[in-house]
């Protein structure tokens, strides 16, 4: 059941009705975040295989980005844009939190989204034909793992909010479970390169969280989404060279 809580929170995929939106189930759902990433990765890999029969690589990659935005309801991209607007503005931490709450997109958010999507598109185009599916799965799973790491290990910035409910239920064991799942999947799919990608995701998460904590009273749901997008982009860029450097 906690898997469906994670699925409901992270995607627009259908879930059974009546799932809890508070309480310990949210903490347990954190352990399932990387599994949701694997599922999204598998859906993308399947769409990739089908669309590649008809369309050239460059167009398929745009459609994969669109599909991912649809499957996630644009949740993380939305958080990324709000984070760009908040973090790059020269305001006080409290004012930045208020900018996060504004549903309108500012210039930093537009520039951020355009740049991020261009980078993700270019990175998708550079994934090698062999290992493409595995890399999609690992990048999406580790990006969701990164959110678990950030939720468990770093302070939360608001007195209330959905992120706060997660934070209150998040125990160290949720991180251990998520890490075991993500690490095992990455190692099975990409061997040593997969484990190196986990280490890279961890380092990126630590750096990003430190950066945010220098500008905000704590992390928020929007910054978790931004982290997911950034780690996804980083891994799509880094996985091909990692797989070349660390074969097997």
């Amino acid at each position: 059941m906690s898997f469906f809580v994670a699925l409901q929170f992270l995607t627009h995929l259908p879930t059974p009705p009546g799932l809890p939106v508070a309480g310990p189930a949210l903490g347990r759902a954190l352990g399932w975040f990387p599994v949701v990433g694997l599922l999204l990765g598998a859906l993308l890999a399947a769409a990739d295989a089908l669309l590649s029969l008809l369309l050239p690589r460059e167009l398929v990659d745009v459609l994969l980005l669109a599909l991912l935005a649809l499957l996630t309801g644009g949740l993380h991209l939305d958080g990324f844009m709000d984070t760009c607007d908040g973090l790059f503005s020269l305001r006080s931490p409290a004012e930045r939190l208020a900018i996060f709450r504004d549903s309108r997109v500012g210039s930093f958010g537009v520039v951020g989204a355009a740049t991020l999507l261009l980078l993700q598109w270019a990175a998708l185009g550079a994934l090698p034909a062999s290992g493409r599916a595995a890399m999609l799965l690992v990048a999406l799973a580790l990006a969701r793992w990164a959110m678990v790491y950030a939720i468990v290990a770093f302070p939360y910035g608001r007195p209330e909010g959905l992120g706060r409910t997660f934070k209150e239920q998040a125990g160290g064991w949720a991180l251990v479970a998520a890490t075991l799942v993500a690490g095992a999947a990455a190692a099975l799919l990409l061997g040593v390169a997969g484990l190196a990608a986990l280490a890279l995701a961890a380092a990126a998460t630590w750096l990003f969280a430190r950066y945010c904590l220098g500008r905000l009273p704590g992390l928020t749901g929007d910054t978790y989404g931004a982290l997911n997008e950034l780690v996804e982009a980083l891994l799509l860029v880094a996985l091909p060279p990692l797989a070349r450097l660390l074969p097997g």
Partner: protein, 248 residues
């Protein structure tokens, strides 16, 4: 000539040496010429492509052609796409969404879709085979403007406030739509042969799917959704032409 000039003024930022249309009847007479304006934009792309192709790298030419589409239309249709996506992606009643569409500021869904559509056009242009490049550049803007005429004629309009779209809706008669379709058909057949008919049918199917999608979430179509349909059909056409021609 008068009708063509009015269509040019309505759909583009290109100079038209006539006074602006003042009556609904003048605006309505322009509907027949919407696909012709599209063909003119397409011809402009073909000419630019030929001229710039001698000077610049292919990726630069493709980016400039995408930019030309934006500038020539004054981003009219892209703006409609952004507003439409923001409205239909919001959790609200159809009537509340209609009010939201008047908000000129961009939100997350519209920003993401605008980035992806621009990227998709670039990706489609960069993968156009040389054999269909000129015909595809010619017919894609045409199909986008033809789609507007069909959408005006075939589906209910949501607003009752006086404006260009309300006037155009009243003026979008079956004979005018048929004349616009006949023009589109002739240009497509000349440019692509029998495959052109398949492309036109594909564009028509796309108009129906998109209009149905909008009508499920809104009380009817609006000026913004006509723009969204034009943008998406134009993008689809760039991908569809090589697909149909190679399948033929």
């Amino acid at each position: 000539m008068r009708g063509f000039a009015t269509a040019l003024q309505f759909l583009t930022r290109l100079p038209a040496p006539y006074p602006h249309a003042t009556s609904a009847a003048q605006l309505g007479a322009a509907l027949v010429y919407f696909p012709a304006v599209g063909a003119l934009i397409g011809a402009l792309l073909v000419a630019l492509d030929a001229a710039l192709g001698r000077l610049l790298a292919p990726a630069v030419v493709d980016a400039l052609l995408v930019a030309t589409l934006v500038v020539v239309s004054g981003a009219l249709h892209l703006d409609g796409l952004v507003d439409s996506c923001d409205a239909v992606c919001t959790r609200a009643t159809p009537e509340a969404r209609l009010a939201l569409m008047h908000d000129s500021r961009a939100h997350a869904p519209g920003t993401i879709v605008a980035c992806l559509v621009v990227l998709a056009k670039f990706a489609a242009l960069s993968t156009l085979p040389d054999a269909v490049r000129a015909p595809a550049l010619l017919v894609a803007p045409l199909l986008g403007r033809w789609a507007i005429v069909v959408a005006y004629w075939a589906y209910p309009y949501a607003r009752t406030t006086p404006g260009a779209s309300l006037a155009l809706k009243a003026q979008a008669t079956a004979p005018r739509t048929a004349a616009a379709t006949l023009f589109a058909l002739v240009v497509l057949a000349l440019a692509l042969g029998p495959a052109g008919l398949v492309v036109l049918a594909g564009a028509g199917a796309a108009v129906h799917l998109l209009a149905s999608g909008f009508r499920a979430r809104l009380p009817g179509l609006t000026g913004d959704t006509y723009g969204a349909i034009a943008e998406l059909v134009e993008t689809l056409a760039l991908a569809l032409v090589p697909l149909v021609v190679s399948g033929w």
